[in-house]
Symmetry: C2
Subunit: 470 residues, 2 copies
């Protein structure tokens, strides 16, 4: 115990509370400041997604802190995408050809509460709520807070500050506005936004549609999805353009309009959602943005982690998993550098962490945008379906030899996102082109197809390497 | 004359003064506010590049406003890159296999002065200096200025505001900080910075090295370049990492250090630069950044143009050319929509302009970063040299049939940057891979090589289209 170091964590969301738990386990003196009320006492889901996709990278972090089994109890397995067409027909497209690979729907609130409980079990961890960070003086390693209870401001001093305060990070804003160093930064919004809706349980408390799937109603330029909750309900999300197309968030302003839209595009969903109009006009329309930046740290003083460093769009179901993986990766670097006690030690650690980590968070940001197009559009595309069917067959028959991009990203926590992206994209390109050029006989021998796919994938990667003069 | 519309232009640099001239020619009532003093009266080169590369896209704009011949008198043609190796050997690598295709070195100050003179010839154009824009109220179409002469602030009202106030645009900052709409924005810095130096003329006023080339001393992770000026001098620029490598801007802090560095890496240049140490410690080290953003306009009120909308790194010599091309493209859209008189008319024009233009400015930003690596590194790479030699031969023998990426970008002003990028990259990939795989016999028939290159380029483009499911 005791590392003589006072650590301040800004934000007790999923990433911050996990980080507090892990640093608490390591014996640091940890103070956490969270701007929201304690979600274990007050219902504060408003404005943030209610349930999330939890998969192997996130689970690796749960194993690290020893709460894997408690988390498992909160999970609802989803084995594949259930596609709903306009006529109400459905078909299930598995996420993997290996039965033991699936993703999970989990409640953000339940998981966050568990992490807070576990962190607070450590005497050396203190968590304060209703303290909003206004700015960080990264040169002096202090942060300015506003206390909603006493309605006063105060300054918190620390040896090291971690900002896990989400996509709208106050510390990242201080980096940007401070102009004390060259800070690369981007915020990119999609033309689409989202709105949360719901499918409530039956009177008997049962699920109205198949429980163990992520439901998608893909419609080309927009889509509806639904993830199950433990209480028998589904949280439904509409992804739609702010301004373009016949129907968009700007012109869906009346109950009649909204009903017409759902009647036309999602008739089977509409039947399950008598509460549609109430949800639609009660819940906010939120933007979909990607944030990247660099450097994440200022010297050995401060470090951005989680969404504060790399917010992504939700279409790969990897936002929380990537933030949890941050903590695992950081812990690995910390382990290597044992007992940092000076600013210089911490700077070495922060640099090493960003060097290994940033390429991967950049990759998942780009993959998440790819998947936006895949989900709303490509899943309905013949060539894409042929590819997915072939990949399922390859994964089933050659579980040790073939892994799709989706599986590389989602179920292979020991492969970085960037490697998964490069290999996965090359595989997709190989298969799609061979299918388009009729170079694969889908009724032919699966082993010879696998060999062709492997050969073409390698050729594509090699051509790219040469073109990049690497 | 007279369109009843009062137009305010913020910034009288290259883009702003050209825009003022063109809108003046079209009869608008134009007011221009520039924060610097009038460069025709005061020498204010400090901190900005002294000379620039001027090529066909820029020239298209000069033709539009009718000053092509006056600009030509300011130009020094550069036919190729003169590569200097460590032993002082040099070889010339032409920019094109077509003799009539070359770029030009031009003085930023001389060109800017010419544009200001031409703009001011129009009674309906007024230009004010020493007025710094502090912010723009884009909802009310007003801008707040500080007058350095009277030391007072004032508000300028207009029907439409154009911000051509460069990479650090005040209006772009107002868009960002205003949070009135979803504003996608990025600033990305390279790990390298730059510093301007000089090679002075001989006592007789002659050029010390070959006049009609862009000189490069490529050294893998850093480089020196030199462009000629009309007075016999060269403006030299050192591109070097801020912090990494044996020598970098952070550790080049003493005259001995700097001299050692040049002695070791650029001995032939050092001999030409007795003034090196003075220049090095007098001139600032500046960052190299890329800025992208969207939307460029707020409704029909305000529009970002030039570097304010899309600042790029200088390695393709396209910064000024791209900004001039903005004015040409905007003028084309304006021509189509005749006499905009309402906010709604202007909004239609701004939207149409951004829709056609942004894909191209995004492309040149990415191409400029590619060229950073090409110039400092690849020009010394055998495979790259083989490619360039082959391309020169193809351009010489088949001037109507083959155009390299460099030529597409630089000499083909009727092809957009994005199309040039896609085709140029595919060609490069085709040639580099065929060379690496020994599929091209460089001693073989040039016509059959051309056919192979064309075929492979098309195949690469097609494979990418299929992989994108387009």
């Amino acid at each position: 115990m005791n590392k003589q170091q006072n650590i301040l964590i800004i934000g007790a969301g999923l990433c911050g509370s996990l980080l507090a738990l892990r640093l608490g386990q390591r014996g640091y003196h940890v103070t956490v400041m969270e701007k929201r009320p304690d979600l274990r006492k007050v219902n504060i889901s408003a404005g943030r997604s209610i349930n999330l996709a939890f998969s192997d990278r996130g689970n690796k972090a749960m194993k690290l802190v020893g709460i894997e089994n408690q988390v498992k109890a909160l999970c609802i397995p989803m084995n594949g995408r259930m596609i709903h067409d306009k006529d109400g027909n459905t078909f299930l497209s598995n996420y993997s050809g290996r039965d033991y690979e699936y993703i999970n729907s989990i409640s953000r609130g339940d998981l966050n509460a568990l992490l807070l409980d576990e962190a607070e079990k450590h005497e050396n961890v203190s968590i304060y709520f209703n303290r909003k960070c206004k700015s960080v003086d990264f040169e002096n390693t202090t942060a300015l807070f506003y206390d909603y209870e006493s309605k006063t401001e105060f300054v918190e001093d620390a040896d090291v500050i971690f900002a896990t305060d989400g996509a709208g990070s106050a510390m990242r804003k201080s980096y940007y506005l401070g102009k004390k160093f060259l800070f690369s930064f981007s915020q990119d919004y999609l033309t689409h936004g989202y709105k949360e809706l719901s499918i409530l349980p039956t009177k008997e408390g049962d699920y109205k549609i198949y429980k163990n799937a992520l439901h998608i109603w893909p419609r080309g330029s927009f889509m509806l999805i639904a993830l199950p909750n433990l209480d028998g309900s589904f949280t439904v999300t509409l992804f739609l353009s702010h301004d373009d197309g016949e129907y968009n968030f700007s012109n869906l302003t009346t109950p009649e309009n909204v009903t017409d839209f759902f009647k036309k595009e999602f008739p089977d969903a509409l039947e399950l959602m008598p509460n549609l109009i109430e949800d639609f006009f009660k819940n906010p329309t939120s933007p979909l943005g990607t944030v990247k930046c660099s450097p994440w740290h200022f010297k050995g003083n401060t470090l951005l982690m989680g969404d504060a460093a790399h917010a992504i769009v939700p279409f790969y179901g990897q936002g929380m998993n990537a933030s949890f993986e941050d903590v695992v990766e950081f812990d690995t670097v910390l382990e290597k550098h044992k007992n940092p006690s000076t600013k210089s030690d911490w700077e070495t650690i922060f640099k090493a962490y960003e060097r290994t980590r940033k390429k991967d968070t950049d990759a998942i940001a780009d993959l998440a945008i790819d998947n936006f197009h895949e989900m709303k559009e490509h899943v309905n595309h013949d060539l894409f379906r042929e590819k997915r069917n072939l990949e399922m067959a390859l994964e089933q028959h050659f579980p040790e030899e073939y892994t799709s991009k989706y599986s590389l990203v989602t179920f292979n926590e020991n492969i970085g996102y960037r490697e998964a992206m490069l290999k996965g994209r090359a595989q997709d390109k190989a298969i799609l082109n061979m299918l388009a050029d009729k170079k694969i006989d889908l009724n032919g021998d699966l082993r010879s197809i696998l060999d062709k796919v492997k050969f073409e994938t390698e050729a594509i990667l090699e051509d790219d390497r040469i073109a990049g003069l690497k």
